[in-house]
Subunit: 262 residues, 2 copies
């Protein structure tokens, strides 16, 4: 079977932490036609569970430092609680979801990040070329929708806490070899905004050349710069379209489109 | 592809709670040839997590009463922590494990148990005929080893805490339509013992007729009676062999063999 188009959609805490918003999003996601993959982050649930167990949450530059206890917590919350909640809701909506971590079926091998200059603990980085494309193909051709959390493994028996944006990018790059792939990052805003306070000021298209100009003009700044740089990187590695939009717009043409061409 | 023989092995808390014993068992399990499925219970980890969160664990007749909070805890522990720990260890051993709950790919639909006479909360019962055999076939033919926890779903968006012995029996009964299936319950003893204090007194064979006699003579009593009745039930529903043995003997001919014939 030839796969024509594959959608990879990533949702983060802003969707996961709002039960009604999550149900609304999952309804929209379930209606996206064709093969699709959902990647989810963790939201505040892991921090809540840590607090309930009196374990301190330590963040450096917005990334969770993952000691042994914290690895257990994120494995429970991401791969267990959130993943199975999403799977059961999608099943109700008639979407044949199958929840996975990157360890399952060796979907996403990762490498533990070097402890210097900063030791993040059990945290891993992903090489998109190592994603198990054969498994992706079998699942997508079988009408199965993988629901993937960002817990991966080093193939030596150790789980690793990875970045969900990177998991989505790696899966989209791998999926590109199976069919035309669209990667959507769901975001709290309607897209990349020219004016941060104006939701109607969505920049419809970012390419490598206007990205340079928009950065120089200070229109795209701070946290958006690495996000768009990563999107352009995925586009350069075969992903046909990367989109940044609100969760409700997943699968549509709304938001900011990021492509590798001019 | 025709599947010749399928092994379904169930482990419980006595194996899961002992890290070295678990690794020893997984090494043996990974070496079992041909298609195989591992089903695991939860052990004491869920009770420990409940205690750490100051949530009371309530048991009736040895079964966990599963209120909303407890459902979250068992989902985290069974489908997250224990499942992914086992998967990553099997991956290291070269066994292509893929962790699942019964909600994933709609593998095991279940029905919430009636609240009367005893309300166990979010607890489900399984009809073996509803197991998703097509998914089992795709996975087993693909060289994938499903690692299944006992969290199932009602197909209406609700997760249900089920009995791991029943999950193993349902999967084995379903697998029987794909190939000759052997179901092994790993146990703390070497098998069904004629003398509970003598590990060498393993009863090698139980059939419906000698089961009746062994019960009358009081050799098989108490907790073993429902265990063997369930094993005989599975055997009567197509499972070629049911075996009760130590975890280290999984895949071998040791322990007690339970078959439906004379």
């Amino acid at each position: 079977m030839e796969i024509k188009k594959i959608n990879v959609v990533k949702i983060g805490g802003n969707v996961i932490d709002d039960p009604e918003g999550l149900e609304r999003f999952l309804k929209i996601f379930s209606e996206i036609e064709g093969p699709k993959i959902l990647v989810h982050g963790g939201g505040k649930e892991a921090t809540r569970l840590s607090a309930a167990m009196s374990i301190e949450t330590k963040m450096i530059d917005g990334r969770r430092v993952t000691d042994r206890q914290t690895l257990d917590i994120v494995t429970m919350v991401y791969a267990g609680l959130i993943n199975k909640r999403i799977v059961s809701l999608l099943q109700r909506l008639g979407c044949n979801a199958l929840g996975m971590s990157g360890a399952d079926g060796n979907l996403i091998p990762a490498r533990r990040r070097s402890p210097s200059p900063i030791d993040y603990g059990h945290v891993g980085d992903i090489d998109p070329h190592k994603v198990n494309k054969d498994l992706l193909r079998v699942l997508l051709e079988g009408g199965i929708t993988p629901v993937v959390c960002a817990i991966c493994h080093d193939t030596e028996g150790n789980l690793l806490n990875c970045n969900a944006d990177s998991v989505a990018a790696a899966l989209a790059i791998a999926a590109s070899s199976l069919g035309r792939t669209v990667l959507t990052y769901c975001f709290e805003k309607a897209g990349v905004l020219a004016d941060i306070d104006d939701e109607t000021s969505v920049i419809p298209l970012v390419t490598p050349s206007n990205f340079t100009r928009l950065k120089e003009e200070g229109v795209i700044a701070k946290g958006m710069i690495p996000k768009i740089a990563n999107a352009l990187d995925s586009a350069g590695k075969g992903v046909a379209e990367v989109r940044i939009c609100k969760a409700e717009a997943a699968g549509s043409d709304a938001g900011t489109l990021i492509i590798a061409g001019e």
